[in-house]
């Protein structure tokens, strides 16, 4: 039984069947990549995990409880954190505060009223945040505002924001999109370290094959809304169905 179980998910937009009977089982503490050509339904599938879309039929279970119909904050509270395609941070706040906020969400839940508590006395939370910032290498800039950061650093900050919550599952939506090769490699290294150091399951949605094959333990290939193959990376590389999906039918023998 996987940590994230997707069974028979269908989603239709008008005449387009975006997801066609998708089944997926993500095992605990693995890096599970979802790949596929443009328009294969990757983003639609992701949106079903995070509460943005509700599938027409099928189930999405996380740790044996359904995610369907939950608000984004409830899904986060259930233990799923998410890294956005374009890094989303609180630009006007300092880097340290950016990490402290999710730490509070993790400790106090979705709503906790403490208007007269002093932020300065929350040393545990601050130490947690500083520890994570140390890990991702942003500790020196922690008092700067997030608005001036480079894209690569924003990605690091976002990682820190997720990690401080000790999520059970981390959803990564094209974590290296738009990055230069050097930044991409840094991000891969960062993800690898995190995956080894913390017991976190990753679901990665990615275009870049270099990233996918450096990280993933298991790969699901999505094509036209359907999972065509789910296997170990070494078996995916030469798989005829995958080649067909990416290159068209002519390549098959």
């Amino acid at each position: 039984m996987g940590i994230l179980e997707v069974k028979g998910v269908n989603k239709r937009f008008g005449g387009l069947l975006a997801l066609d009977d998708v089944n997926l089982s993500v095992q605990q503490n693995t890096v599970h990549a979802i790949i596929g050509p443009n328009g294969a339904g990757k983003s639609t599938l992701l949106n079903c995990f995070i509460g943005k879309l509700v599938p027409d039929s099928g189930t999405v279970d996380f740790n044996n409880s359904s995610l369907l119909g939950l608000e984004p904050y409830q899904i986060n509270q259930a233990g799923i954190s998410r890294v956005f395609q374009t890094p989303e941070v609180f630009s006007e706040l300092s880097i340290l505060e950016n990490v402290m906020i999710p730490a509070f969400a993790h400790r106090d839940g979705a709503f906790h009223l403490s208007p007269f508590k002093s932020l300065a006395k929350e040393t545990t939370i601050r130490e947690q945040a500083e520890k994570i910032l140390q890990d991702v290498g942003l500790i020196d800039e922690r008092h700067h505002t997030a608005s001036a950061m480079s894209r690569g650093n924003k990605r690091r900050l976002e990682m820190a924001m997720c990690l401080v919550q000790k999520p059970k599952l981390l959803l990564l939506d094209e974590p290296t999109a738009g990055m230069a090769r050097a930044d991409t490699n840094n991000t891969i290294d960062l993800l690898k370290t995190i995956n080894e150091a913390h017991e976190i399951t990753f679901v990665v949605i990615e275009h870049d094959m270099h990233v996918v094959f450096s990280l993933a333990d298991r790969i699901s290939v999505l094509s036209q809304g359907h999972v065509i193959v789910e296997d170990h990376p070494s078996n995916i590389k030469g798989h005829p169905k995958v080649q067909e999906a990416y290159l068209g039918t002519t390549e098959t023998q």
Binding site: Y73, E88, E92, E97, M100, I101, S114, F116, L119, R126
Partner: protein
């Protein structure tokens, strides 16, 4: 850094208290040292501080806060009429009522954000205003306005005053009482009503300081920064914004109650959109999201309202009397529409100028000037001995941040 912050907050609090308590002394030379005006400084300061908790922290621009001011006024006056002339129950009751009212309106309005929210709050305020004038006349006394009456039951303390209206008091201290102390040729007026309002203001300022420095305040700032992200971070942002809305509604109700305690008259025009606009103006003028800005803005606007609106044509003619007749006439003609009864034109113009050129308000303006001075002095320093003056890690904290965050970090 945090230790430093705590000490600087303490210093701010002490400074604020001293300045507020010394208002009669400070304002007398400016011609504003009389009780009525100083009371309004303090009361509108409270109103603006509360508004800033909503607008400054969460970024939700309410255009209907005057409704809470009005509700606070009406409920306080009813308490003065029904229960006791003592202001304490009146104030407590009006804070509760306006809080409940804010809960209702906030619950509905906060379902939408941005411009929709502004329009919804504006619509609610106009609706309250219309209701106060029409349907609710039994409660509000319509156009005449609600006031104290000799027939008031006043269950707790209805001692006969020999046909005289009682004036609101705090355990016997009447709000209207003033001690006049001659000082350096000026008459300093120490008024009970002002000091009651001032103490409340100091308390409310401290409360807002605590809110700004709490995790709750930080989360509210995150709402302003990126609400979607906050929801994906695991926070349900709506109860947070609703709490902020209710708190600021209660501040407004408190201000409304104090207005009534100083001058026991409540009219519907207090709820009009112009009144809602005024508190927005005060907050913007002083500096949105700053601690001290709203109080500053409230003081300045009430001061100018008072000074400008009292200047009439003959005063203006006096100013220019030394000039040749033709020039003086032209100047009078140019200046007079903006003063006296036309001072609202100046108010609108100042408002526009602030929004256009100084969106961060006076606090940001002061910050810019300070920056300029430090840069100039630093430039001289580096010129004399070129040293690497990179500040050490911990010093970076509060100084080195973008203008956006300066607002919330500094006083």
């Amino acid at each position: 850094m945090l230790k430093k912050l705590r000490t600087s907050d303490r210093a701010l609090m002490v400074l604020f208290t001293v300045f507020v308590l010394a208002t009669p002394l400070l304002m007398a030379p400016l011609g504003a040292g009389y009780p009525d005006l100083m009371q309004r400084f303090a009361i509108y300061g409270i109103f603006a501080i509360g508004f800033n908790i909503l607008f400054g922290l969460t970024g939700y621009l309410s255009f209907g806060h005057a409704a809470f001011l009005g509700v606070g006024s009406y409920s306080a006056l009813w308490m003065l009429k029904l229960l006791s002339i003592n202001i304490v129950p009146a104030i407590l009751f009006s804070v509760v009522v306006s809080g409940l009212f804010a809960l209702l309106i906030g619950f509905i309005s906060l379902r939408r954000s941005g411009i929709y929210f502004s329009i919804l709050t504006l619509a609610f305020a106009q609706m309250s205003y219309n209701l106060a004038y029409s349907v609710l006349t039994p409660i509000t006394n319509g156009e005449t306005g609600l006031q104290l009456d000799l027939e008031d039951p006043r269950i707790l303390d209805n001692a006969s005053e020999g046909g005289q209206l009682a004036s609101p008091s705090l355990f016997g201290l009447e709000m209207g009482d003033t001690a006049v102390v001659p000082f350096l040729g000026m008459d300093l007026q120490f008024n009970v009503g002002f000091y009651v309002s001032a103490l409340v203001l100091i308390g409310m300022f401290y409360l807002s300081l605590r809110i700004f420095r709490s995790p709750f305040g930080m989360i509210l700032r995150a709402v302003k920064s990126n609400q979607t992200r906050l929801n994906y971070t695991g926070f349900n942002s709506r109860p947070y914004t609703l709490t902020a809305f209710v708190i600021s509604g209660m501040y407004a109700g408190l201000a409304g109650a104090l207005l009534v305690c100083m001058d026991p008259l409540a009219g519907a025009e207090r709820m009009q959109w112009t009144a809602s606009g005024e508190v927005v103006l005060m907050t913007i003028m002083g500096g949105v999201g700053t601690l001290i800005g709203p109080v500053l803005g409230a003081g300045i606007i009430k001061y100018f309202e008072n000074i400008f609106s009292r200047i009439n044509d003959s005063v203006i003619q006096d100013w220019f009397s030394a000039l040749p007749d033709g020039v003086a006439d032209v100047l009078v003609a140019v200046v007079s529409p903006f003063l006296g009864s036309g001072w609202h034109i100046s108010l609108g113009l100042i408002f526009m100028l602030v929004v256009i050129f100084l969106p961060g308000g006076l606090v940001e303006g002061a910050g810019r000037i300070m920056n300029l001075i430090t840069r100039l002095t630093q430039a001289r320093k580096t010129a004399s001995h070129r040293s690497d003056d990179r500040p050490s890690d911990d010093d970076v904290s509060s100084e080195k941040s973008s203008p956006g965050s300066v607002n919330t970090r500094e006083s």
